[in-house]
Structure formats: structure tokens, C-alpha cells
């Protein structure tokens, strides 16, 4: 399933510029977590990562784990260096005012309908 479709269904707001990381990439599943070591250890290639961490290190984790995107929840805004790094590392960052629970809940339903695992 394409990131773009998920962004539309969940009304996620892309924060990285349109000329930056594109939203055409495939999403393999999703991971929710705020502990970077946990995400490093357990997320999988192509996962969309739902978190409320905004620190610049989230981009490094997403890059190393080849994640498809970072979704920052609860209306939290990332710091400017996080955004700069996301553009240079080609990692889309999207925002939502919803909680991690609700975002995950809705995405689970969408991915399940497409037989994609969490």
C-alpha cells in the first residue's frame, strides 16, 4: 500500500516539502514506539513508524531501519534540525493531531483489509 493513500485516509499532514521525500513509496506495515532502541531492534523494513518523539535521532533510526515514513502524533512539532535531516535523508515526516492509539487503531484496520501485517 502506498504511503500517499494512507496519508489521505488518515488525514496525515506531510511536513517535509513536496519536492523533498515523495509519498509514493510502499508501506509494508506499521510500528508504534517511542523508545529508539526498541524501534531499532524491532521495526521492519518499509514500516511506517508512529511516535511522539520529535528529536533529530528519529530520522537516524528511520534511515538505518529503512522505514517508509515517520508519523508524529498528538499534534507535536518536530524540531527544525529533525526536519532538515529528514529532507536530506529522504524520510517523509507526517503529522496528526490524533493519538498514537487512534492512529494505530485506524491504520491497523486499513492494513488488515489489504492483508498487510503490523
Amino acid at each position: 500500500m502506498k504511503l500517499k493513500e494512507i496519508a489521505e485516509i488518515l488525514s496525515l499532514k506531510p511536513l517535509t516539502p513536496a519536492e523533498g521525500p515523495d509519498l509514493e513509496r510502499e508501506v509494508s506495515g506499521a510500528y508504534v514506539g517511542d523508545l529508539l532502541s526498541d524501534v531499532m531492534a524491532n521495526s521492519e523494513d518499509g514500516n511506517i513508524w508512529i511516535t511522539l518523539q520529535t528529536h533529530v535521532n528519529i530520522v537516524a533510526v528511520a534511515t538505518l531501519k529503512n522505514l517508509s515514513a515517520i508519523v508524529i502524533v498528538n499534534g507535536r512539532m518536530p524540531e527544525s534540525d529533525t526536519l532538515d535531516r529528514a529532507v536530506s535523508e529522504d524520510i517523509p515526516i507526517l503529522l496528526t493531531g490524533k493519538s498514537a492509539f487512534e492512529t494505530a487503531g485506524k491504520l491497523y484496520r486499513i492494513l488488515n483489509a489489504r492483508n498487510l501485517q503490523g
Binding site: D34, L35, L36, S37, L52, Q53, H55, R76, E79
Partner: protein, 122 residues
Amino acid sequence: MKIDKTYEGSFHIVGGDFSRAGEASTELKTIMLSVGIEDEVVRRVAIATFEAEMNIIIYTPAGILRYSISPGEIRIIAEDMGPGIEDIELAMQKGYSTAPDWVREMGWGAGMGLPNMKKNAG
């Protein structure tokens, strides 16, 4: 609040001691419940105090938490040995934090401490 006298006390907090983090706030919560403070007020005071306690543990060598529960008012004073907050306005923003990575891995330092204290204090 239906109390008729003032209860005062204090807790010493040692910086860096994560194993005991939250004990002081937990004890204060028990005290507030035992003197008959209503549940919702207890919850708010406990949350604000817990954040203050965590701030002392995460950022300072040591500090002290004083409480005074009197008719009409609960006052919590957190004093610590510094280093202090450089930019208070920035620190009040949700998500802003100067916490090192190891603190984040302990589940803290996500930049919600001061907003939380503000939300729950009068």
C-alpha cells in the same frame, strides 16, 4: 477541601536515582488521600509533583520537595541544586527537551514535564 488544619512535610530527592524515582510523589499521594483530599485534586497534585520530582532526578544532583496541605490550598515547592533552566519559554513548549538519550530510553525526557506541571497546577 474538607480539612481543618495544615499538614506540612518534605522529601529529599537524590539526582540520578531512577530506582526510587516517584517514591516521594507516591507517598505524598497517600498522605493527601489519608487526610481526605478529593480524588481529582489528589491526582492533579500527584502528577505535578511527580514531574517536579523527575526533573530533580534527571537534571540535578539533589533537591528537596516541600508540601503544605492547608484548608483551601495545597502548595508544593521543589528546590534543587541546579543547573537551572536556560530558556523557560522554550521549556514550556510541548515536546521541547534537553534530555540525553539514556533518559529518553527510560521513558522520560519527552518535553512534557513543565507543560504537565502547568496543566495540573492552579
